[in-house]
Amino acid sequence: MAKVVGFNGNAAVAYAMKQINPDVVAAYPITPQTDCVERFAEYVSEGLVDSEFITVESEHSAMSACIGAAAAGGRVMTATAANGLALMWEMLYIAASMRLPIVMMVANRALSGNINIHCDHSDTMGARDAGWIHLFSENAQEAYDNTIQAIKIAEDLGVRLPVMVTQDGFIISHAVERVEILEDEEVKNFIGAYQACYPLLDLNNPVTYGPIDLFDYYFEHKRSQIEAIDNCLPVIERVGKEFGELSGRNYELLEGYRLEDAEYAVVALGSTCGTAREAIDSLREKGKKVGLLKMRCFRPFPRESVIEALSPVKGVAVLDRSVSFGGFGGPLFTEVRSALYDAPSRPLIINFFYGLGGRDIYPEDIEKALERTEEVVKAGKIEQHIDYLGLRE
């Protein structure tokens, strides 16, 4: 029997970090992630982990310290949110470019302004082009499970890239839920011993990280980085399956809910998927053929899987919890719509913005989105590509 505990998302990730027992954690507190690193700091002070915990003066320094420690040859973790992630921005690109397998939990929170501490996805979506793998979590259980899997994915010798594990700020990070935890030994065996590639502390084999790289080689290095992240999908799938064998909870790149025979689908990230399940069950009771596509892996974007899942449906409502100002739709909409351009059959797709700055989304909002999608499909054309859920006019 698996051990069941009451954890909020932050506690679940802190506990996973304790079981992972990384060599170095460098972090700076920021709401709603603070609770996670505070708990980890307690594990350090109680001597329950061997980790070197580096308290830094900013997130830019946190990520810089993580990069140094990872290049030195350590297994490294951190956590942040919103403006903290934004302050790391420059260093995020450097961590990915140097192929350092750092794992970071991000408690998704609105990026200013005005200042807001609640959930939306504008923080990690802003970092979507930095070269990190992005795994979204639906609840505290998934935040725990994704954190453990992220170590194995990041450190795979065919990957060697940093991973962001996200959880919706407050909605997941601060809500206590039932979480099944693994034994310490199970986690230890699952992730295995860390094997550093080109560690700076190997004094017999000196290497240089981050040299100047101009027009003669920079482009080739970026091309090899493109190849590296594109090649991650099979590894993420394999690790998800192995984790399923260990825990009974199987993970894929994306997850369909009542999607097999669906005519209309909603696509979402994070905790909203739980709300969407309610909406779908309720519409199914009314005889509507509707389903959910939950995107667990957003980077690399699993194009083929999205085509396979959505090509058969007639209409798709893509829910975006962040804005790409001036762009044609939100980040998720843009990706999904672009992927479906080459699909054998293309559903009509509309974009709904919702939940900015932590505005709650209700099952009725998602029902409304699916009903609107059905209306559009029946009318045969889209008058308005972009719409809003839960917004006052």
């Binding site: 192929r99 060697r160 080109y198 290497v207 240089t208 080739e220 290095h221 190849e227």
Partner: protein
């Protein structure tokens, strides 16, 4: 430098995994002007050798004679010509 490598041949992360390889980077092609040596006027004071930021002045330590410039690494900064006390021994000329 050898033929430039394609992206599939590179070390992941853009790392340099051999030590002491700065000499493989011939910085001489940055030059727009080069120093020319007139040995008849040179007084072999070694000022240019001491001041050169790139170690691009070739001298014979045994005989104490200035020999030549190493154009593989000389960036043409002109410090040698400006500190040279023997007028006309070092002249900067366009490449």
């Amino acid at each position: 430098m050898d033929k430039l490598k394609g992206w599939k041949e590179l070390v992941p992360g853009g790392l340099i995994v051999e030590a002491g390889n700065a000499k493989e980077y011939k910085t001489g092609d940055w030059r727009t002007e080069k120093p020319e040596l007139n040995l008849e006027k040179c007084i072999h004071c070694f000022f240019c050798w001491a001041y050169c930021p790139d170690g691009a002045v070739i001298v014979d330590a045994e005989t104490g004679k200035m020999l030549a410039f190493n154009y593989d690494y000389c960036k043409g900064c002109g410090i040698c010509a400006s500190i040279c006390p023997a007028k006309g021994a070092i002249t900067m000329v366009a490449e």
